[in-house]
Symmetry: C2
Subunit: 182 residues, 2 copies
């Protein structure tokens, strides 16, 4: 569906009016409403597609770089994806964080969809820590630390602070967590 | 000046129109422009005051909880402030990140002011790591990791993912970085 792909390079669609969305996507208003019902549902649909696309890139990178079936190697490769993402010329922050922060309304359907992205990443780390035989409590704490590092590097990278170190420092710290020294 | 304090509890002022700002602050439009020149400058002034207030709370907490003159203890207390901040009922994310992300324009004067907040926090960590006799390169990398953890915990806390672990996991990881095990 061209509608969503055409705007998918933006950091956020929230500041777009319906008319701009229609203009950019080349879709008639009647067709838009027939598909999505409302602008709100269009944003949610856009976020769902962004999330599937993002995890598609993420999974492909991990598949290529991690040792198969090795959970620590998979988490390390996930941070390798972070490094690759932040070093892209078109990196413009995380669209899910952007939409969440722009909404300032945690009950909005698009905010719930954004939270689902962070929960999925958190679950990704937690499940692998459990496969590494971490006790549940420790796995929960380490998964939270890995999520802090991951989303923190995204925000620090977006702010342009700490040079290019945001992702490499996050990966190095994640490795230390995984290697049992913490 | 009541103008800025009255809106200081909001996560962001960017979605406020000039008339709302005037209404909330009880200031006449002529007086507003006489003081700030434009809405843009009002936002910058608001961010400057927020930043001074934030570092005031931060410094007071560190002063109270850290061993005087001990840079590792000061950084640990800085993460203690993070725990206290995120556990407040009125925690609504970081206003500097919020404004930066909402603007989607890194050259906007308010975006520069928001970046200044993150740079100041980064410098805070870096200077203390140097006092801990870390070589410059390592201090830069560790300061980046601490900033990732700090701002990441703010975003994870705002998203409401990982329960209440965002700040405690960040502090625990920061302690490990400081204690030389990484």
């Amino acid at each position: 569906m061209a509608t969503l792909d055409d705007v998918s390079q933006r950091g956020s669609v929230l500041d777009l009016g319906i008319n701009t969305l229609l203009e950019e996507s080349g879709v008639a208003k009647a067709s838009l409403y027939a598909h999505f019902g409302s602008k709100e549902q269009l944003i949610v649909a856009w976020l769902e597609r962004r999330q599937e696309a993002w995890f598609g890139w993420f999974d492909a990178h991990v598949e290529k770089h991690a040792r198969h079936g090795d959970p620590a190697s998979e988490i390390d490769a996930a941070f390798g994806f972070l490094e690759a993402w932040l070093s892209r010329d078109d990196f413009a922050g995380c669209p899910f964080i952007t939409v969440y922060v722009q909404l300032q309304n945690e009950e909005h359907p698009a905010a719930l969809e954004s939270r689902r992205y962070a929960e999925r990443l958190h679950a990704y780390f937690f499940e692998r820590l459990r496969r590494m035989k971490r006790p549940t409590g420790r796995a929960k704490e380490e998964a939270a630390a890995l999520l802090d590092l991951y989303l923190g590097a995204v925000v620090v990278g977006q702010l342009g602070v700490a040079g290019s170190r945001a992702a490499t420092a996050a990966r190095r710290t994640a490795r230390a967590i995984l290697s049992d020294v913490l």
